[in-house]
């Protein structure tokens, strides 16, 4: 750290842009779409953006934890699909067994999250004990999750989530009808056609709480510091007495847990489960982490920056849709932004990392 402070700043502009340019890019992007797309700058579209981005936000945090240790998790997308299916199957089975609906939903969710740890534990075991490269281990898990999911649903969507789950998944925290006070959780019963202001989707609140907890874990706990140390230098981490294998096992389990949570939110939102529900989200999740300035080689990255990276993608997606531009352009732009972001991170390095170590 001291060495870094001795190095003179090359230029104040570069120093200013270093680490901040992604946020600046996000602001420019929002301003651009405010002019380009009708109705982009409204509370409603901000809520839509967060609502439909929930799964990507959760997957990006999952991916970030793995990337910080220098690994990669390709299985998160299909773990999401797997979790979306089994949560519905379990809830359905519990309701059929005569349990009350709220209890079934709660038990089904908990059971899914517990089962959702299994793919991650296997990944972690393969990576840490059998020394299988993360790319291969998690790619294998992608295949296994895909196969098992398809076997469970036998080629059709998983259905049968009770209406209550859909109400929670698509409901909002606050409702405001004219001449009535704010109401929590329940849409006020007013005449049809009366405009009711719905604020803050439940799912977004849940995801935000989870993401804040994990941001705290990564930034402030010893567990988080260990992950940066492992990503910075595996050898040094071993010599410093960090239980590297156990940490890697935990980090893949954590990633798989978050992916399962994303799968549960998917089941609540769309009331259906399918094997490839998260297949196309993998690119967005990895891109969000990289645009957020994390290095593929580990040791860097924060939850906050990853969220900014995810927002860059979410704004792009919604903005293009609202501007009526074909979504095909989105793939081109995401690809280009991804590469340019990594190049930019090289030429506009951050002044200081919150927790950083020199890499080899």
């Amino acid at each position: 750290m001291n060495d870094k402070e001795k190095v003179p700043r090359k230029s104040t502009l570069r120093g200013f842009l270093g680490g901040r340019w992604v946020a600046i890019f996000l602001v420019l992007e929002i301003v651009f779409f405010m002019f380009k797309s009708q109705g982009f700058a409204t509370v409603n579209s901000a809520q839509i953006l967060l609502f439909y981005g929930t799964q990507v936000f959760l997957l990006a945090v999952a991916e970030l934890f793995v990337v910080v240790t220098g690994g990669i998790d390709l299985s998160v997308g299909y773990i999401l699909g797997f979790a979306s299916i089994i949560s519905i199957k379990i809830v359905d089975a519990l309701v059929a067994a005569g349990l009350s609906v709220p209890a079934s939903i709660l038990a089904g969710t908990v059971a899914t999250l517990v089962i959702g740890l299994v793919p991650g534990l296997v990944n972690g075991w393969l990576v840490a004990w059998l020394r299988v490269p993360p790319f291969i281990a998690t790619f294998s898990m992608l295949g296994v999750c895909h196969g098992v999911s398809e076997l469970v649903i036998n080629g059709v969507y998983a259905m049968g989530m009770p209406q209550l789950a859909a109400d929670i998944g698509n409901g909002n925290l606050l409702y405001k009808a004219p001449h009535l006070p704010f109401i929590f959780f329940r849409r006020p019963e007013v005449e049809r056609g009366t405009p009711v202001l719905a604020l803050i989707p439940n799912i977004v609140v849940a995801a935000a709480i989870v993401i804040l907890i994990f941001a705290f874990v990564l930034r402030r706990t010893r567990f988080g510091r260990h992950l940066y140390a492992i990503g910075g230098s595996m050898d040094a981490a071993v010599r410093a007495g960090i239980p590297v294998r156990r940490r890697i096992l935990q980090v893949y389990a954590l990633s798989s847990f978050l992916a399962s949570l994303a799968g549960v939110t998917y089941a609540f939102m769309y009331v259906s489960g399918k094997a490839d529900a998260g297949a196309s989200l993998l690119l967005d999740a990895i891109a969000a982490v990289m645009i957020g300035g994390a290095s593929m080689f580990g040791g860097t990255g924060t939850v906050g920056r990853t969220m900014i990276g995810a927002l860059v993608l979410a704004v792009l997606d919604l903005g293009l849709r609202m501007a009526g531009i074909a979504t095909f352009d989105k793939y081109i732009l995401v690809g280009a932004i991804l590469v340019l972001a990594v190049i930019a991170a090289r030429y506009l390095p951050e002044a200081q990392h919150p927790v950083s170590e020199d890499r080899k």
């Binding site: 299988v132 294998s140 992608l142 196969g147 990594v342 090289r346």
Partner: protein, 359 residues
């Protein structure tokens, strides 16, 4: 090499064990043939084997490109979508030229050449981004993954490009010999006037794609194992530093490897047009690049570079293909294939770790 270091470690395995470990995927392939031969009577028929191999032409090409890249210690995630982009653009160019009044044959020939030239571009971009801007290959080619996908979809507006000359699929799916047992043999096309309804009685032997792919893979295997180009590829993957110090222009070579990779994907794209008769964009679920990587790893390459053979990768492709085909025709749920691929990959890596000095 390992003997000096391993005097205290486990005994050096016998040559037979080493040979088996090196070619475990080939042994597994034989096992598949025996198992499915019993499980499904049609599995071992010439028609089935031929058609499986024929349908793997594009995966063979993609696995070959991935072999070169993985030996250098890199990875190319873009080849699947570059393949689709080339397929779509070839079809579009054929349509364009045909609209200008060119004959079908000329239009197809010109379009193929144009697309093969164009297919160098994604690789050039990948290579330059990786070497000059030091972007990790995973990210650089993931970016190209998105760009190629978007471009392909934009070009074809999200629909396969149809309306091409109908000699294309006849050529792409043709066989060298056609025979009705005990009756006649004809070359290159089914006998004139032979009713389509009775086509199943014909013996069709050696699809055109077979000599083509054997020649391409043979040439690439030669390049990889017998020429300076191949030696440099292994050297870079073995140790980047050592390669630099021994005077190899590493950046230049890496650019060449990524260009070769996307060129082979371009060949795959053009072949795809011949095979299907339309220009296909690559769908998300196709996962061509992942299956190519899986084939290469099952074939004995290591993602950390320095290891891999074209022959091994080709065997890897066949293992995945016959596994799918065998499960399919013996009536097992096809989804088991995904699980099997996952298990095979882990087996491949574990064998790689157990015998680290196999090349």
């Amino acid at each position: 090499m390992a003997d000096t270091a391993s005097s205290t470690a486990a005994p050096v395995p016998s040559p037979l064990v080493r040979a088996a470990a090196r070619n475990w995927s080939a042994l597994f392939l034989i096992l598949l043939f025996v198992a499915f031969g019993f499980a499904a009577p049609n599995f071992l028929s010439i028609q089935n084997i031929q058609s499986v191999v024929h349908l793997q032409t594009v995966p063979f090409l993609l696995a070959a490109s991935e072999t070169f890249v993985i030996i250098t210690g890199g990875i190319d995630l873009s080849i699947g979508f570059v393949m689709g982009l080339c397929s779509v653009s070839a079809a579009e160019i054929v349509q364009l030229l045909a609209a200008k009044g060119l004959s079908g044959g000329t239009a197809v020939a010109l379009a193929s050449i144009a697309v093969l030239l164009l297919s160098l571009l994604p690789g050039l971009v990948n290579g330059v981004v990786i070497t000059r801007f030091k972007v990790p290959p995973f990210i650089a080619t993931l970016g190209m993954w998105g760009m190629a996908n978007g471009l392909a979809l934009k070009l074809c507006d999200g629909f396969p490009v149809a309306g091409l000359p109908d000699f294309l699929p006849r050529l792409g799916n043709g066989y060298l010999f056609y025979a009705l047992p005990g009756n006649f043999v004809s070359l290159f096309d089914k006998p004139a006037g032979f009713p389509d309804a009775r086509i199943r009685e014909l013996w069709r032997l050696i699809p055109f794609s077979l000599p083509f792919i054997v020649a391409v893979l043979g040439f690439l295997a030669f390049r990889l194992s017998r020429t300076p180009f191949g030696r440099h590829t292994y050297a870079i993957g073995g140790s980047m530093d050592a390669a630099v110090r021994s005077g190899i222009d590493v950046d230049r070579h890496l650019v060449k490897v990524y260009v070769l990779s996307s060129f082979l994907a371009g060949v795959g794209g053009v072949f795809n047009v011949f095979q299907t008769g339309i220009g296909n964009y690559t769908t998300f679920n196709a996962s061509y690049e992942f299956f190519a990587i899986a084939a290469v790893v099952i074939g004995g390459a290591s993602l950390s570079g320095g290891k891999g053979r074209i022959f091994g990768s080709a065997v890897g492709v066949l293992v995945l293909a016959f596994l799918e085909n065998g499960l399919d025709i013996s009536g097992v749920q096809p989804f088991y294939r995904y699980i099997a691929v996952g298990v095979l990959l882990v087996v491949a890596v574990v064998i790689d770790k157990l015998f680290p000095d196999l090349l």
